[in-house]
């Protein structure tokens, strides 16, 4: 059975759709949980556990409309973990999506870019 991690979005948490074989792992929506690590830690753990099955070329996309600052910190931990695995040789890509020239999301993506060792593309949609 294909390994995947999926969570339906709510008013305070984003939709998570992570598959080992689809080539695209996405986090989309709003992220304002009070305990953000409670939400993001299982995703980080899933990536670590599934790292050898996630296909080459997989894009990890982050497309958030709003997030609280503790989610920003938790997202950085997740992206840093993926970045570390890329540094160890995984052929994956990090993509931060900015909707409608949202300057706050752009700033958030640029902040993360400066703190990780792997490239992260910022794209506007």
């Amino acid at each position: 059975m294909e390994k995947k991690y999926q969570v339906q979005g709510t008013a305070s948490t984003p939709t998570v759709d992570y598959h080992v074989s689809s080539g695209l792992c996405t986090i989309v929506g709003v992220s304002t949980p009070v305990d953000s690590m409670d939400f993001y830690h299982p995703i980080i753990q899933w990536v670590v556990d599934a790292q050898n099955e996630i296909v080459t070329g997989t894009k990890f996309e982050f497309q958030l409309n709003y997030f609280n600052s503790s989610s920003m910190k938790a997202l950085l931990w997740l992206i840093q973990q993926i970045s570390d695995l890329i540094q160890e040789g995984k052929q994956w890509h990090l993509v931060w999506v900015v909707l409608e020239d949202d300057e706050f999301m752009l700033e958030g993506g640029e902040a993360i870019q400066t703190l990780i060792d792997s490239p992260m593309e910022i794209v506007s949609r």
């Binding site: 305070s12 304002t32 009070v34 690590m37 709003y66 600052s69 503790s70 910190k73 949202d102």
Partner: protein, 160 residues
């Protein structure tokens, strides 16, 4: 000019999420500029988060007002006096910083800071001021013995 939202009552994680959804909808329909809509929503998120994390009761209030020259957000919660005085000191210090200093502090806290027991990253107030708050004050009054009503009042001005 007038109130966009005026809520007073219980807050918990579920009500917080509903309030934020409401603020998103109301701000998009009432606040004149796209930047100010985003400032209002992002700052309300942080102020409500703080009230939920650091309040000593679930009794909060939030008021969003449209002013002639911008938007004012007022979030009140019950708190202990030492926490309020610490918050006042933090806000005063942050308001004295330049934009590059704020950005550097934000990045350093983002990278090195640890999550508090209450799940906070210590970034919320920095984020509100980084968002462009033109005025940020913390007021308080005694409510009951050692419990104080603390209000954070934040203004964003229209960019000419």
């Amino acid at each position: 000019m007038g109130n966009i939202l005026n809520y007073s009552g219980i807050n918990n994680e579920s009500i917080n999420a509903n309030l934020l959804s409401l603020i998103q909808e109301l701000s998009k329909n009432s606040v004149p500029s796209k930047t100010m809509v985003k400032q209002t929503i992002m700052s309300s998120i942080e102020l409500l988060d703080n009230a939920l994390r650091h309040g000593v009761s679930q009794d909060i209030s939030i008021k969003l007002e449209l002013l002639a020259d911008g938007v004012q957000i007022t979030v009140c919660n019950d708190a202990k006096l030492p926490d309020i005085l610490r918050l006042q000191e933090i806000v005063r210090g942050l308001l004295r910083m330049t934009k590059p200093e704020l950005n550097a502090l934000y990045l350093s806290k983002l990278k090195e800071g640890v999550m508090s027991e209450k799940g906070g990253a210590g970034l919320g107030i920095i984020q509100v001021i980084k968002n462009g708050a033109k005025h940020f004050s913390v007021t308080y009054e005694n409510k009951l013995e050692d419990v104080f009503r603390c209000c954070c009042i934040v203004n964003f001005e229209k960019i000419a």
